[in-house]
């Protein structure tokens, strides 16, 4: 955090959380926070933002940026590392095409005006590894979501309907992993994979536990709400990547219907593109996005993110181990798998999205359909990096959402299958700049329950991006190339009050904070003590005393105590 004071002068501000829509305003920064004008005095650095767009720093709430998955991806794909982004000098060498090294991740987010990114799947037993990698990423604030949906403790407590213990277990696990919230990946399905199976519907029984995905999801939502965590359950649905799966997705969403929370959604369903397929096989697969969008729009307790594919190289990496095996069989590509203790698993498979491939084009179109058809207040922009593609292409997605013309141009180069299998060609919606700024800043911050992020109101973190774009003059519908170019490279990226990147060049290396959530005061922690001892003794390959991450081992931890 900087003690330099800043005066960002004459910028055109879009700040959806505070209802500011393209107003000429000055922003003042002191001690890393946004303050009133009266707070700054003396030596103040002025940035002239005349005719430029001033917004909060971008917030990527779902990306795979740290931990064993991305690292195995790097090890498996040295071909990914042959793109040189920066030669070592004042800053670290930075390389990577889609899979970036840790320094490169921080640098590229910074250059694009992003200041926060969350790792969306942390294997709990590997939490220390995830944090080591998060600590190696410069420039941005970060956090990690541990996975719960196949953890034997969860399966056991749900089977026993012992929700008090489940609640305490979530609090224990978040503290031990220094995690931020409850991620659920293919609940029950990964446990079934240990026997070569999967849970494809909400009512498939998890082998050995007598519970179903429906029960797991419901119980986890219930106890996440009882703990009043800042983020809701973050669900990667069952049946991912399968034709006809949109029905499972909607059915899963319905499980949230009996819960409510004034401040945020009670269920965030992630990378929904991969879960919005209609049809009965890959021969007749079609888009189910319209149905999913209709459901999400009809309720007020669910948010989603897009999982937008970008044409070109990507690497599929999820905790959804059985799906990754299916993908390996489908594509014949390399396959890594990691069954992890009694907690779950993971898989990694290289993939390239080709515009002329009917399925890939369909996936691309479905992502956009979701972005266009779902209320801007309920859909966050994401590529599920690196599953759908690089986060560095967020500006492409932003521009596409704002310009039908750009979409029409892109549609000309993709497989004609999209014309009959999706609604994309007939969608006239053009999101406004205001909406797209919301989808990349204020909304993800709200979804993650981060009050100090995603906006420019007094008291917010001074994470600010300035773009060479005048919202009062630009017409994103026609000037899509200008919009794309402007969002690719921020004129200024300011992190915690410090200028870290300027016009695509790095200015200063800073180290962001790692947020974690402490909810132990909201549960009877003693209730699970003997179970923890017992399960560790019997089923783990390490001692309980050596499990987890201490705050002191993290570079800049920030504990958020749940009230």
């Amino acid at each position: 955090m900087s003690d330099i004071m800043l005066h960002i002068k004459n910028g055109i501000v879009i700040d959806p959380k505070n209802g500011v829509n393209a107003e000429k305003m000055d922003i003042f920064v002191k001690n890393g926070k946004i303050v009133e004008e009266s707070e700054v005095s003396g030596e103040v650095k002025t940035i002239d933002a005349s005719n430029k767009l001033v917004v909060a720093g971008g917030f990527d709430m779902h990306a795979h940026i740290a931990g064993s998955k991305i690292n195995v991806g790097r090890e498996m794909r040295p071909e990914e590392m042959r793109t040189v982004r920066l030669i070592a000098g004042k800053f670290r060498a930075s390389i990577g095409r889609v899979l970036l090294t840790s320094p490169a991740i921080g640098y590229e987010y910074a250059k694009m005006g992003y200041t926060t990114a969350f790792e969306a799947a942390q294997p709990p037993v590997g939490a220390l590894h995830t944090h080591e990698e998060l600590d190696a990423i410069p420039m941005i604030d970060k956090a990690a979501l541990p996975v719960f949906g196949n953890w034997h403790f969860v399966l056991k407590y749900v089977a026993e309907k012992d929700f008090e213990k489940l609640r305490a277990f979530i609090a224990w696990a978040l503290e031990r992993t220094k995690g931020f919230g409850v991620k659920v990946v293919n609940p029950g399905g990964v446990e079934a994979w240990m026997y070569g199976g999967n849970c494809k519907s909400l009512d498939d029984e998890v082998p050995g536990f007598g519970v179903t995905p429906r029960e797991i999801i419901t119980a986890l939502i219930q106890e996440t709400e009882n703990l009043n965590l800042c983020h809701s359950v973050h669900l990667h649905c069952n049946n991912l990547g399968t034709p006809g799966n949109y029905e499972t997705t909607i059915e899963s969403m319905k499980l949230a219907s009996k819960f409510s929370n004034e401040k945020r959604q009670v269920l965030h369903v992630t990378h929904v593109q991969f879960n919005s397929y209609a049809g009965s096989s890959w021969r007749d697969v079609a888009s189910g996005a319209a149905e999913v969008a209709k459901y999400v729009n009809s309720v007020d307790n669910i948010t989603i993110d897009m999982g937008q594919p970008i044409f070109g190289h990507a690497t599929a990496m999820t905790g959804d181990a059985p799906f990754q095996f299916t993908l390996h069989k489908l594509t014949g590509a390399r396959w890594s798998n990691k069954d992890s203790e009694i907690e779950g698993g993971a898989g990694i498979v290289p993939i390239a999205y080709l515009p002329k491939n009917p399925v890939h084009a369909l996936q691309w179109a479905i992502g956009l359909e979701l972005g266009l058809l779902v209320d801007s207040d309920k859909v966050v922009l994401s590529t599920d990096y690196p599953n759908g593609g690089p986060f560095t292409e967020y500006p492409y997605v932003m521009a596409m959402l704002m310009s039908k013309k750009m979409r029409e141009k892109e549609l000309e180069r993709v497989s004609p299958y999209v014309q009959k299998a999706t609604n994309l060609p007939s969608i006239d919606v053009e999101k406004t700049l205001y909406e797209v700024i919301h989808m990349t800043r204020s909304l993800p911050a709200r979804v993650m329950g981060m009050d100090s992020k995603g906006h420019l109101g007094v008291g917010a973190d001074a994470d600010i991006a300035i773009y060479d774009l005048n919202p009062l003059e630009v017409d994103p519908s026609n000037d899509f190339e200008t919009v794309y170019k402007a969002f690719k490279t921020a004129v200024y990226t300011i992190k915690g009050g410090e200028i870290i990147a300027k016009e695509g060049e790095l200015v200063k290396e800073v180290w962001g904070r790692t947020f974690w959530v402490d909810a132990r005061n909201k549960a009877a922690m003693d209730a699970i003590e003997s179970d923890l001892d017992d399960m560790f003794e019997k089923y783990y390959s390490l001692q309980r005393v050596n499990y987890g991450v201490e705050e002191a081992w993290i570079k800049k931890p920030e504990r958020l105590v749940m009230g």
Partner: protein, 422 residues
Amino acid sequence: MAEELVNVICTFCGSVCDDVLFDVENYKGKKFCKLGSGKFSPKERIKSPMIDGKEVSYEEAIEKAAEILVNAKRPLLYGWASTVNEAIRLGVILTEKVGGIYDQCASVCHAPGTLALIEEGVPGGSLGEIKNRADMVVFWGSNPLEAHPRHPMRYSVRAKGLLIKDRKDRKVVVVDVRKTKSANMADLFIKIKPGYDYPIISALRAIIKGEESAVPSEVGGVKKELLKELADMMVNAKYGAVLYGLGVTQSRGRDRNIENAIKLIQLLNRKTRWIIWPMRGHYNVVGAGEVPAWEAGYTYAIDFSRGYPRFSPGEFSANEVLQRKDCDAALIIASDPVAHFPRASVAHLKKIPVIQIDPFPNMTTLVSNVVIPSAVAGIEAEGTAYRMDGIPFRVKKVVETEYWSDEQILEKMLEKVDQLMG
């Protein structure tokens, strides 16, 4: 003196046993295997930092080391397998800064597995999964009883878990070129001819695919009937694990052997559940690959001479660099190449300035111009290490020492290098 037993994490082999106890008063381990006991017993140490055999302070030795690295055109920074991630990370940054070559012990042991991973991926799992679920374990070219003595008990043979309640619930097979100590604990020992791993794995694949007619009556010294029996056992296992060692990576075929074995696992997963995993040697040789992967994109044989990392095994791996006389200085940390490398490699090491960082004197000490003793991680210094299956542990500091940790030494060296480079 009274016993004061504390829980420590063993920093000898890749099993990283975390249930062992250490008597800090009497400097004696409990529950350790022989190998771990050795490390956790009092041993001869390098007494002081030295330049050309003369005792100096840490500051002087580090300054000299920094000068050597900065003045070198292309230094080799090698070792890393027996230190913690925090030190390895600084080592990668240091190598990047001085435009050198980063290489680590895997380049002479398990790197063929990395090459196979690049070709096929690695369908693996953690040791806890093997303990809980594996009803069949195949040790292929590995000898856990002698190389990882507590592995069978803790994870893979006698370990009890969710589905495995008794040793009888698990079939153990050892495949090797000779009857090792580990073969005695197996239900089935298959002795193969040296260098015949590849054809034997191919034969198993053929049998499992239903093309057994393509298999001759004997492959690599193993009768077809026995191969059929093994294939049958594999297909009928509910959850199997192949745990391979240097017998596979360092015999004829090297990475192609592992590639073939991974293809076998891919095939088996179409019928049942199987995983494959290397039996890694040093306690943090995994970290010596993981850390550079996230910092610089690759796990070993990384050259930074152009200002960005380049990966080329067989070109930038330590032995090749040394034998080509393609480095003009070396920093050796947490390893002993002079004792293990071929004579031609050692010959070059003897000609160039060598810096050694290690707690214990070894053969490499004899050729080193600058010797910097360090604290023993897991006893005198803490830090992160990855078990052979990638599970991270924070190894502990339980004894106070005057020795600097690897992390401290490298931090200071980086600082000095920065100063010298301006």
